[in-house]
Symmetry: C3
């Protein structure tokens, strides 16, 4: 049960309703009117709780769960304990997500403006926005409806933000146009002047960074992530893309739609990333290269050349993932052999 100090439970739901909303099939249709009172992980769920099995690693927890009901893939439903009603679904994690959103709906902004917020008279703020203490909103800023601008966020001149956005505490946004349903977490820095300077024996000469950051709708950006504005072209984050904490995105980078960029990834300037690309944690991408749509880059990889669409790469410098695994295996073997010869 989620801690009541932090979460508000929206009520109990019948299994039939949960199956319908999530597109799942009840293993026992006669139980459609059974009420479940909450969601919970497999190992702590109780009789009236709804859980889920997504990762095969946790089949053992599923076998022994006390959960009254459980989302599960059809092929794994056979491992269910007798007392657990299955809601089978090809994507049980998505089904759980939808159900959990029913039990714990996201809070809405509470229309208000803290007296300590400083909002320029020329800024336009939509209806039902919540603006917290210490927020600073500059001239000609436009903010849509139902936005939450959290404590101490700084939004600079001319920035535009769509509807239903959540701008976290300690965020800075400058030189940026932001779509709707965008969520920026704590400490994000959008639109900093990029790392651009000409190298000269007499020192470095700053190159004015004259582009913007364009963030399309439904993008989420994790805490303390930094996205520099373009040097002339724009930096672009495509619709629906999810970016984790502590990621660095350089100037002029274009990221496609529905990409997943895990924590601590770094993407150097002017690189182009297609749609649906997955970048594992701490991967580093050199500048001025292209990564095709659907490519998957393993954690800690170093990408120095273009990557074709759909390819899977690993290592630093990265090679196709099968080759990377062979290299790793071979290196291990060579060392073992050598040891054999020596002894």
């Amino acid at each position: 049960m989620a801690d009541r100090r932090f979460f508000t439970l929206a009520g109990s739901f019948q299994l039939g309703q949960l199956a319908e909303v999530t597109g799942s099939t009840l293993s026992d249709l006669s139980r459609a009117s059974v009420l479940v009172t909450d969601v919970a992980p497999l190992d702590t769920a109780e009789k009236t709780h709804l859980s889920f099995l997504d990762n095969k690693k946790y089949v053992e927890s599923f076998r022994t769960t006390n959960a009254g009901a459980c989302f599960v893939r059809p092929d794994l439903a056979t491992y269910a304990p007798a007392a657990t009603i299955c809601l089978t679904n090809k994507n049980p994690y998505k089904a759980y997500a939808l159900a959990a959103q029913m039990f714990y709906p996201a809070g809405k902004p509470i229309s208000s403006r803290a007296s300590s917020a400083i909002i320029d008279a020329s800024a336009t703020i939509g209806v039902d926005c919540e603006i917290e203490g210490g927020v600073i909103i500059g001239p000609y800023v436009k903010i849509g409806n139902r936005c939450r601008i959290q404590a101490q966020a700084v939004i600079r001149q001319g920035v535009e933000i769509g509807d239903d956005c959540d701008i976290g505490p300690h965020v800075t946004i400058t030189h940026a146009l932001i779509g709707s349903k965008v969520r920026l977490h704590h400490g994000v820095c959008i639109g900093r002047q990029g790392f651009g300077f000409a190298i000269d024996p007499a020192g470095f000469v700053a190159v004015p960074q004259l582009g913007r950051v364009i963030i399309e709708s439904d993008v989420e950006i994790g805490a303390n992530t930094t996205i520099d504005r373009g040097a002339g072209p724009d930096t672009v984050i495509g619709q629906g893309t999810r970016i984790d904490n502590l990621v660095q995105i350089g100037h002029n980078v274009k990221i496609g739609k529905y990409c997943v960029i895990v924590a601590q990834v770094g993407i150097s300037g002017s690189t182009q990333i297609g749609d649906g690309v997955m970048l594992g944690g701490q991967a580093g991408i050199a500048g001025h290269i292209k990564i095709g749509s659907g490519a998957k880059i393993a954690a800690q990889s170093g990408i120095m050349r273009d990557i074709p669409a759909g390819a899977e790469y690993m290592g630093s410098p990265a090679v196709p993932i099968r080759q990377s695994m062979k290299q790793t295996a071979m290196l291990a073997k060579l060392v073992t052999k050598k040891k054999g010869n020596e002894e």
Copy 2:
């Protein structure tokens, strides 16, 4: 001598007292009443200063130091200059730490509340707390005694913090229970909704993150580090653990007691780390794995599988450290050989 603009010296101390407090042995007991006026590094220490030798790399600086007294391991005391009195100790760095704390004791919070702090009426604040400008404290927050809540920190609804904590500037804390003597540095983000969503052809579906962050007592967390709250289970940081700057800790991660986690490490979701584990800088740990107590992971390692207790691993993907060194050596040799053949 520490810069008087930033540090306040608490006074001179006799060698005898310093030896007693730190559990050290004076090389010349007749000098127990000699006063030392300050601590200083070996190469800048003067006649009335106390220094320390911890790293063998600096034996040469020890031989030529002007320090009047010095903490040193018994076996290295023979390198002392004639004018330097030795305080021998098996752990000279710890002895120095205790002595330096005498000369420069940590400041205490000054009981106060800045007028610009916004504290919800339902929050409970202990005695002798210092609450700086711009701080925002939400409903039902509980803060213990003698805490320092630094400028612009944001503490959200229901968060509980024990006694003697120091919450740095620009910190955000949400969905978290925090023990006593916890120190969070600038920009730390505790309790963000983790990177959890179901992948679906129609986009990503957010998975409500219903867990908390539990931080046990005496934990220290470096600047701009991010710790996501659990998805259902909690994210837990065990007692006494030290976390450096810019570290990322994913949802559901459990970290044991007295671990050392160096800067820029990333730990993926649901991974479990035992007690006394050391993670070198920039190491990356995959999700859903276990690292046994006492394991040591070298800097930049990539950990993709469970690591047994006490093991030492290195490389990406990581292997036992001896094997890693052999692989490195062999690779170097193979390239040299090949070069020989070619010429």
Copy 3:
């Protein structure tokens, strides 16, 4: 054309004036009085715009550009379209930088103090400084002339800052002396107590960190970067050095003049880096080592030993760059061979 919401164009300039200021040679001296109205990238530039070609990768964009004028290296000028006037220069990127600074000069601080800024009565602030909302300036702080202290920045007791500095939003500075023309971006943390403690069976013992951070003039530090103060000696960042976002610099580190440190680099305690060193993104440098002046370290490298001046290293653990490339090639070859044998 730069977005007028964010940028203010300072006017048109004649080619002759632009050639003179940037030290370039006009390909057609009869065109010296032609006016250009703006700067723009090659592929979006129009007839009255000035562009530049710096990276050979973009020669094709140069061949087909509509730019009226373009900075270019003498040897690449032959690829210019007939309608494009060339301004040849050995360093066209620097020439472009200087020209772009004419079209878009950096804004100056607007002398002002926000009413919500809290400035200690003992602090000294120079003339023509701009101090934004939420800023906190502690006792005995000294700030020079024409500085911009952006929203919510926290500057602690005794800190000194020279003239013409720009301190970004959400920055914290403590125990630091900062030169002139220094730019700190959003969320930077300067002077945190470093990661210093003695390891002891009974827990960790904090070692008071008694040094400072010294930042020389004309240094730029990227968003959310963290620089710890010295433990006894100081942490020093040399004149003109450029540091990108999310970089970690440990206590006692000395960095020379005019270094370039790319995003997400980590430098461990007490390491010394010479002048003009380049550290690629995500590189990690161990503690207590020396990197000679002019060395170049590739992205993601792991440096565990001293690096001679001028050397180029790559890999983790790093080796000279030619050796690293050979190792990579050989590993690829060995795997291919093995595959051949198996089939």
